[in-house]
Symmetry: C2
Subunit: 126 residues, 2 copies
Amino acid sequence: MELDFQKSDGLITAVIQDYQSGRVLMVGYMNEEAFRRTVDSGFATFYSRSRKKLWMKGEGSGHRLAVKEIATDCDRDAVLVKVEAIGPGVCHEGYESCFFRLLEDDKWKVVDTPTYDPAVIYGGRA
Amino acid sequence: MELDFQKSDGLITAVIQDYQSGRVLMVGYMNEEAFRRTVDSGFATFYSRSRKKLWMKGEGSGHRLAVKEIATDCDRDAVLVKVEAIGPGVCHEGYESCFFRLLEDDKWKVVDTPTYDPAVIYGGRA
């Protein structure tokens, strides 16, 4: 049984969840090669829709995502990847999770505290 | 600060997570109207890419998703919706979560037990 890469221009949605805390850390997208590299290497690898190329999360920052478990959904067009996040945070803006803003009174409010300084890790680059 | 509906044909990705157990239950997609209805009604509403229309999860089955909290990510093109799932299961195939298959030895294996009979709820329709 294969994943369905056809429904969304060759991509599936990949939800990244901390395997211990259960916190959802980020959402990325994988084409078939990115999925294959994720499985084979044991580190989450995505396809960047904006840069139109593969990227292993953490290839620059060192903040890699070590795969613990991969599940797929009933439609086989999304995967849930449980990971051990290497390093202090997944988000390039300096937070543990990319989901650091909550909707409150119809406004997005930052509710987390940064876990590292992205300027040091990324040198000011996103 | 608005969500970015432009990056993916008017849609954002919505990850649905049980607010108590932390289990990821499903992934859906929302256009701006679906997101607005989700916020205003308090029940998760999606845009079906295959049927090309809005659908409130549970409008047929009664298995609605009561919103507890909504977060967005750094790119503002995905939301994480923590919910209380009404009913025995979110997946139309009879499982608590749509992510009921795990990758084992490069094969997808069903690892969950059904929590209800979808033929009773959905009358054989998906």
